[in-house]
Symmetry: C2
């Protein structure tokens, strides 16, 4: 409360066109004081859904030029509040700045044993809940079935694959770099991984000879098309992200509905906010697996609030590996 | 068995290109005798899925040039068999001909009270089972919700709408002629009906102001696109038919997957053969509703085996109204 320092925030300078560039954002002074609980920001969550908000087409609402960027944060309170004494770690949605003032009821304590605390933004946070809900409520893996996961090295994809493996299914990833594919197979236990920039169809033919029983889609576009062509009967498909079109101004068409009919597939849209009821179970299950080493994860950490625009641009270019966060302090 | 008459069958003369024409078929002599139970054909079922078989892309297998057309038939046996004494009414899959010889275990008795017996090919047959399974297992209507049904005057669509109404939901049809739309509203109790050849988007906006909770799709294409743009949260979509593309050689793309995500919709492919377990319940429920007058239906009856090609061509052009059958005798 009594630390005096310059406060800064990340503002949208202009609506990105196509792939965002750092010049789409500006770092500007922010008010030092405000209503609510003062808190120092430790981590800022950088997520693909923010691109949709910048285009004005996301369920959580737009971020327009002149607005501050906002997403989930990990903060340390600098005054006593309902969430605990000053110094308590908490997560909350807030603007990308050095110090924020947050409504008391927006703060949720972060378990102190969570190491690093940024996990509450990643595999034990929203991405973890996305993966947990998608596997539990949509994919419903059975032993011997084959799951395919796109953007497999991201925090959602890698967790989906590992949960499918834990249920006795096979997990095949799709990822855009050799380093990611190697990590997925050698560290995360995936049964194979397909080069997103190669022939996804050929990869699926080789690695999913009996078809795809489950598909967790984070990208849409050609990858979705290729997987839909190979669905096994009674396949389950979770549509979660559209990385391939977030940077486009127009929404492209999707796969022919005949592919869904032919496979008698069930295709469901997954929005994590609908599954908040699973969060306690998710925290226990995934937190436990991280502690016992049966769930591995990667983080792409960018240091300093000033690095946030670059972090977001590199995420959207597919150049980050693991959960992207900005470590503000 | 001892009736001697000329036996004829409908053969595919060539693979249809686009909309089928009667010249794609030929009526040729068929063998008078054969292995199995001899039976006179009373009705031939004429269904849109046959177009997919003619293109070689249907789950039930292709029908190639030189092959006889085949689909479900209502027959009267002319000899005693496991299904009953000579003269028993039965249904079975078989070729489009005057008299057939069928494997004994392929015959299923048709309840004698079914009037007309062609109902066993329509609202109390495969189309009825399609509707019943789609409503029960995919749409799951709740009171006050809104269902939209394309090809609404067909035996599947009209039954889906009436079952949704019976569950307390609103039913909005999409149909291609004024006569169909009038019948759907005035006779079948639909709450409204949209002209398929007009602006489906405008119609949906007017008749589904709170969005579409359930959609039963028989057509694909632009109609599917328009409805997907208007899905309400947690919508359920049954993909059952692709009337718009059966006559096309190439499968066109479908709606953008973002529409499914935004609505957190559940989209399922419906193939009736997966739901055979529901048939007894369907027969009891829909047969009962027909007897008590709470379920209405239409048939488009073409007389004589020689009329079968025209019946099929008119069905595929959207020119028949109700369940299309050929009354062979």
């Amino acid at each position: 409360m009594n630390t005096v320092h310059e406060n800064r925030r990340v503002i949208v300078a202009r609506r990105p066109s196509g792939l965002p560039v750092p010049e789409d954002f500006e770092l500007l002074p922010a008010p030092a004081e405000g209503p609510g609980v003062a808190a120092d920001v430790l981590y800022v969550s950088v997520d693909p859904y923010l691109r949709g908000r910048l285009s004005g087409r996301h369920v959580t609402g737009p971020i327009a030029p002149g607005d501050a960027m906002d997403s989930e944060l990990i903060v340390r309170t600098v005054q006593d509040s309902a969430v605990g004494p000053a110094g308590t770690l908490a997560r909350a949605f807030g603007t990308w700045q050095d110090r924020v003032h947050l409504s008391e009821d927006a703060l949720v304590a972060v378990a102190p044993e969570l190491d690093p605390p940024s996990l509450a933004l990643g595999v034990v946070g929203m991405p973890g809940l996305t993966a947990f809900a998608g596997v539990r409520r949509i994919l419903q893996p059975a032993p011997g079935e084959t799951a395919v996961i796109s953007s497999a090295a991201g925090p959602v994809g890698a967790t989906v694959g590992q949960l499918c493996k834990a249920a006795g299914a096979r997990a095949i990833g799709i990822a855009g770099s050799e380093a990611k594919r190697t990590w997925l197979v050698q560290e995360a236990g995936f049964d194979g991984c397909i080069d997103r920039h190669g022939s996804v169809r050929d990869g699926l033919r080789a690695l999913c000879p009996d078809g795809v029983d489950m598909y967790f889609d984070n990208v849409g576009g050609d990858v979705l098309q290729a997987v839909m062509e190979r669905l096994a009967p009674n396949a389950r498909v979770a549509l979660c992200g559209l990385m391939d079109q977030y940077n486009q101004d127009e929404a492209p068409p999707g796969p022919n509905p005949g592919l869904i009919i032919r496979a008698r597939a069930t295709v469901r849209g997954l929005i994590v906010y609908d599954h908040e009821d699973l969060r306690p179970q998710m925290e226990e299950a995934l937190g436990g697996r991280i502690r016992d080493g049966s769930l591995v994860f990667r983080e792409a950490v960018f240091d300093g609030l000033e690095a946030a625009p670059a972090a977001f641009c590199r995420l959207m270019a597919g150049e980050t590996f693991g959960k992207t966060v900005v470590r503000v302090r």
